[in-house]
Amino acid sequence: MHIPDGYLSPTTCAALYAGAAPFWFVAIRRLERTLHTRLVPRVSLFAAFSFVVMMFNIPLPGGTTGHAVGMALAAIVLGPAGAILAISTALIIQAFFFGDGGITAIGANCFNMAIVGSLVAFVVYRVLAGRAPLDSPRRVVAAGLAGYVAINAAALVTAIEFGLQPLFFRDASGAPLYCPYPLSVAVPAMMIGHLTIAGIAELVLTGGVVAFLQRTDPALLAATAGRGVMAPAGNSAVASGGLRPLWITLGVLLMLTPLGLLAGGAAWGEWQASDFSDPASRQVIAAVSLGQPPPATPPRGLERLSSVWTAPLRDYAPPFLRSAPVGYALSAMFGAGLVILAITGIAALLRVRQRAGTADDTVSL
């Protein structure tokens, strides 16, 4: 996809330099605001990484190999502004130093891959990943598809640039001066290769690296994940923001618990010993047991064990409250509180043990 010199007219090259310039300007301004003094080392190192990763041979299904650009990976880790600058830098060095892409076509290559590719990748990733947690498999799929769509979008723009050349630039004899293929040839020729090999290579690289980062360094995925995205355990800063909706949901559910009183009948298999001798309860038991009547007396084992423990809030109805709905809601709050307390206690205990283990390791070193 690196357009060499001679394929695009000087007019097209100039137009694409002009088209890329505002994006470069905005990207630099934006990064200077957010990174300030960190801008130079961060973008430089990522550009160097992009350059090297473009040289990786990626094994593809079917036995072939392909090269990726890494535009989606850059957009996911650095955001669109960082990706535009990093990929552009890598492309400029490729053109000057390795002849991969022409010098007059630097603007075009940066526009296609660094700008169109990065922006498309970022949008696709954010839309598909949604608010999924950082360690969610959905993010791997979103990243892979972002890479696939981005490289194909960049290829389509490149093909259109190629295809427009014979329409506008011909010599006196009618021979095309630059790329000779019209849109009807350039678009399918570019897209077949990118929809199959190059697209898959980008998909494999982006999805694979994001899956790897989820296991090893998920914080690198946090910058572009969006607000309120739940981080995996251990990233308390993000996690606390992400838990708020869960607390609200829990509160609403607690308030709605009295709705359970509206439900008729009894739960199958939750009978008490006294139900076996009560005629109304016996009818209910028979009705939900395919007409099979219960034994005349409660089973002896059931009768003996049911008296071992008497619950303080029996039937979710505290004895000191007359209102059944209020009693129901209060029981729900009490139960939920007990569960949270128990989990908090266990977590604290585990943290203490973990700290003790770390201290032992340090001593043993």
Partner: protein, 277 residues
């Protein structure tokens, strides 16, 4: 880093070989740039402006013979600068020309125009316009690639970057380009070591999935390493007093030979544009 021919093998071998070739080319360019040829002695700003004007002339020319003449000028400059012509042509231009020829070949048959011949057996018609357009494509790529590589093979990268400042390229961008180049070499070496180490621990063939995992994990490790390194570099820069302001030591001085070279390049470029209009 030696020039030994390495056996072509699987994807890991090809990746390592590609990384090694990139490092070798970078080293070769720096070595040649330190030579004492005609281009090496010129002010980098003159080389940048002069060679870019010739590249622009190649792009603007509408006549194949003019483009061929500019290609000849590039070769003559390489000879005058004692640059290794075989390396320049075989390693750079020919590879690009071969690639472009593959793209240009179908144009001979696909471009509509006056028929000048037919391919026996298959019956494809060759048109005059098709031959002309294929010629444009191959010649343009050959000429511009040669001129581009003349700049890189005769000028240290640090000097190219300094010269960019003369063209009002933002200083922050120039510094990013400089740092990127330096760390490309470091990361190329890290990637090569990583693949070599993994290769030395691998017994027997890997499945497709394992090979893909190996590459993506390698890329992931390299990414984490790059960002970690950027933090360390930032701290090192801060320790040396970096507060976001960038300064370059711009000590280029134009000599008489530089003015003559600049005028010559501009003259040739203008003549080529006029002749090739």
């Amino acid at each position: 880093m030696s020039g030994n021919v390495r056996p072509r093998g699987g994807f890991a071998e090809r990746t390592v070989n590609g990384l090694l070739e990139a490092m070798e080319r970078a080293m070769l360019a720096e070595t040649n740039a330190a030579g004492s040829g005609w281009l090496q002695r010129l002010d980098p700003r003159v080389k940048l402006a002069g060679l870019l004007s010739l590249v622009t002339a190649v792009a603007m020319s509408h006549r194949a013979e003019v483009i061929a003449a500019l290609f000849g000028v590039g070769i003559a400059m390489a000879v005058a600068s004692r640059l290794p012509l075989s390396t320049l042509l075989s390693g750079v231009s020919l590879a690009t020309v071969a690639f472009s020829s593959a793209l240009a070949l179908p144009a001979i048959f696909l471009t509509p125009g006056r028929t000048v011949g037919t391919v026996p057996v298959v019956g494809w018609t060759i048109t005059a316009q098709g031959l002309t357009t294929a010629g444009y494509l191959v010649l343009r790529v050959a000429a511009t690639t040669t001129l581009g590589f003349l700049l890189v093979f005769s000028t240290r990268w640090a000097h190219v970057l300094k010269a960019l400042r003369a063209f009002r390229v933002p200083i922050v961008f120039v510094v990013i380009l400089g740092m990127t180049y330096r760390y490309i070499l470091l990361l190329l070496e890290a990637a090569r070591d990583m693949f070599d180490a993994r290769r030395s621990r691998t017994v027997g063939p890997l499945t497709g999935g394992e090979r893909r995992r190996l590459v993506t994990q390698g890329a992931g490790v390299l990414l984490a390493k790059s960002l970690h390194l950027s933090g360390e570099v930032f701290l090192a820069m801060q320790a040396r007093g970096f507060r976001g302001e960038v300064y370059l030591l711009d000590d280029f001085v134009m000599a008489r030979a530089d003015w003559i070279a600049l005028a010559s390049c501009a003259g040739v470029a203008l003549a080529a544009v006029w002749a090739g209009r």
